[in-house]
Symmetry: C2
Subunit: 428 residues, 2 copies
Amino acid sequence: MEPYELDATQAAQLIAARQLSCEELARSTLAHVARREPQVKAWAHIDPAQVVRNARELDTGQGGSALHGSTWGVKDVIDTRDMPTSQNSAIYLGHRPSKDAACVAVARHSGALILGKTETAEFAAGGRLPATRNPHNVLHTPGASSSGSAAAVGSCMAQLALATQTGGSLIRPAAYNGICGFKPTHGLVSTEGAKMFAPTLDTIGWYARSVADLSLAARVFGLAADAPRRPDGVRGLRVGLCRGPNRAHIEPDGESALLTAARRLADAGAIVEELDLPEPFERMTEAHRTIMRGEGRATFLCEYLAHRPQLHRSFIDLAENADGIGHGDLLRALDHAAACRVAFDALFGPRLHLLLTPPAPGEAPLASESEGSMIFNAMWTALHVPCISIPAGTGRRGLPLGVQLVAPRGRDSELLGMAQACAEVFGD
Amino acid sequence: MEPYELDATQAAQLIAARQLSCEELARSTLAHVARREPQVKAWAHIDPAQVVRNARELDTGQGGSALHGSTWGVKDVIDTRDMPTSQNSAIYLGHRPSKDAACVAVARHSGALILGKTETAEFAAGGRLPATRNPHNVLHTPGASSSGSAAAVGSCMAQLALATQTGGSLIRPAAYNGICGFKPTHGLVSTEGAKMFAPTLDTIGWYARSVADLSLAARVFGLAADAPRRPDGVRGLRVGLCRGPNRAHIEPDGESALLTAARRLADAGAIVEELDLPEPFERMTEAHRTIMRGEGRATFLCEYLAHRPQLHRSFIDLAENADGIGHGDLLRALDHAAACRVAFDALFGPRLHLLLTPPAPGEAPLASESEGSMIFNAMWTALHVPCISIPAGTGRRGLPLGVQLVAPRGRDSELLGMAQACAEVFGD
């Protein structure tokens, strides 16, 4: 096994035992990037010489952190002090931020080796699409705006990658690229230094090749301080099988992955029951859209006024409020989402521990047709709940499928623990 | 009258008529700064040569905007591309951001002449206090973290100034400095590029010497598109005189200002009635504190990890969660605030148009004793409602007093219109 194939948890053990240096891991990864990047196109910026220099510094510096030397991609809407942050926008092409975004600073302080910036949709919102292709089949989309981060991890060009979700940009690409993705509870990871789109929705999260690596990163962000490991695996776990208000959009492959996961959980001793959400949740997809576009109006005013000719039409529409979303519409949507958050959390307790739900309709569509739909993500984003996507087999076209696990707000640590147990069952 | 004494509305008319140049206004203002700054200490950074250069550019450039040539201070937690943004923190001393914060870019695009950066509490939060003194009596505090912006406007060193409010940092200093302050509905002005403290509370607003100037700026931020002028002044306006849950903290001077304002409104034909808020609002001050400190924990993690020795003890306490605020506590406070927002807006309609309430307990305390209390601001911040402070006479020590006007969320434009009518009545 080459070093680049190790996940961060495995590599950390070897690095701590001085059986692997950060530089060796970096060089192995860079050699793999040189092979894979021409097809996958995950990177907006990567400077191998800089990576090796930083890896050497990590080797001479103090270790101790469990992330020491781990290799990271950073979505190119997140500021980095030593690399450009272009946001896939003509306005900010080659822009050099003066400091790291908060999440980058936290990762770096914990020993992360930032390899480079990963491709994104323009401002992580729309407009210009990323150049990235799905590493499992380059004719297919890697997903939405976090494509570069997901494809980098999915093709073993990075162990971890920072990403963002405002609609479905984090969880859907995780499923499409056959990796693990974690969207924490909204507000628990600072978004400072990441491009804003709709602050009520914008959430920083990360990708990894294992749930253990998701937890490793969660710990440095203060989200898995106690990361409880379930002694009995999934035995006794009460799982709600929840297709949600948009169930009609589940494709046969997605349905099959969901049912297989449910069956494996039940076989391993979990109590799986179908769960329907009450009526107010039917309106959450629309509320999400109103919040996203209503808040986007204020967010893109600056670029609209100062750089209009370099802005994709979709942002001009946002700033000009082409949808005609009034302040009252936005406030009603915000209030509806707030009320549903309380109602959602109240579903949980001794009789329900987590939801099992689709992360996407099915396999990744052809890149020529679509980048996929956020329909199985929008509601959870607006509910602020922690979500994890984990791999769950492949579909008819041989592309990865995933399932999504959802817990109530603030239960990030417990969700990571339950996801670890579930992943062990699915991995059979 | 010297040009620096004009408000932005007056100056704009002269500039548009070519009876005043931006450079003349800038030079007059700079001469006044040279006289007043040694006592007031409002500026963290001001470079007169740069100001004159930028004013000349405005004179040669296209006019047309109503803010063209207006003079602005920018609170030093808000990024500026051509001036340092030190945040009154040893960590960021002399830091040069690579781009303007969104609100600065919007103001600049609208012709604002940024004079310099104004003094702030460390990270607009606490820790190191600003050096600023109250321009009406330098032995007294100018207020909280937006002190520099408020004192700059209050001493005629700027016509307008950008500020922020997370607790009471915008409205209270407006009252203490005898000026107008506007905190818009949360979320309607992008906070991108301003230091985050508690994103659910952080709000960008501005100071001016007249309500007309507040509206002028509101228009460029898309908040006063229709800025309705009340044809009958305050006649028929239904005003709730609301001392709020912390009424016991109102000082005699503050009470007197409130009653005088209420009497003048009634004399001019407004219908003023006492209004008590129901029980849930009694818990809003505590909910605000829980949100501020709970969210601050994530926000300052980055500085805590990477720059701990340069951080004031109060931020270490925040990041280490010295208060022991759990995720559950934070979520309960967020949900309580969300529910109160709905209940608050529902109070308004044909029988209630706005609230009249104190912006601070009374006159500015001695700087040696206190920077004042946010007790009459915290609830409104967490309710996300638009607030305006306008001058309302002086107290026993000859220091300015103010009153605060509050409207439901999203009614910023109407509030500005009502505040204009109220200010005309108070100004008698």
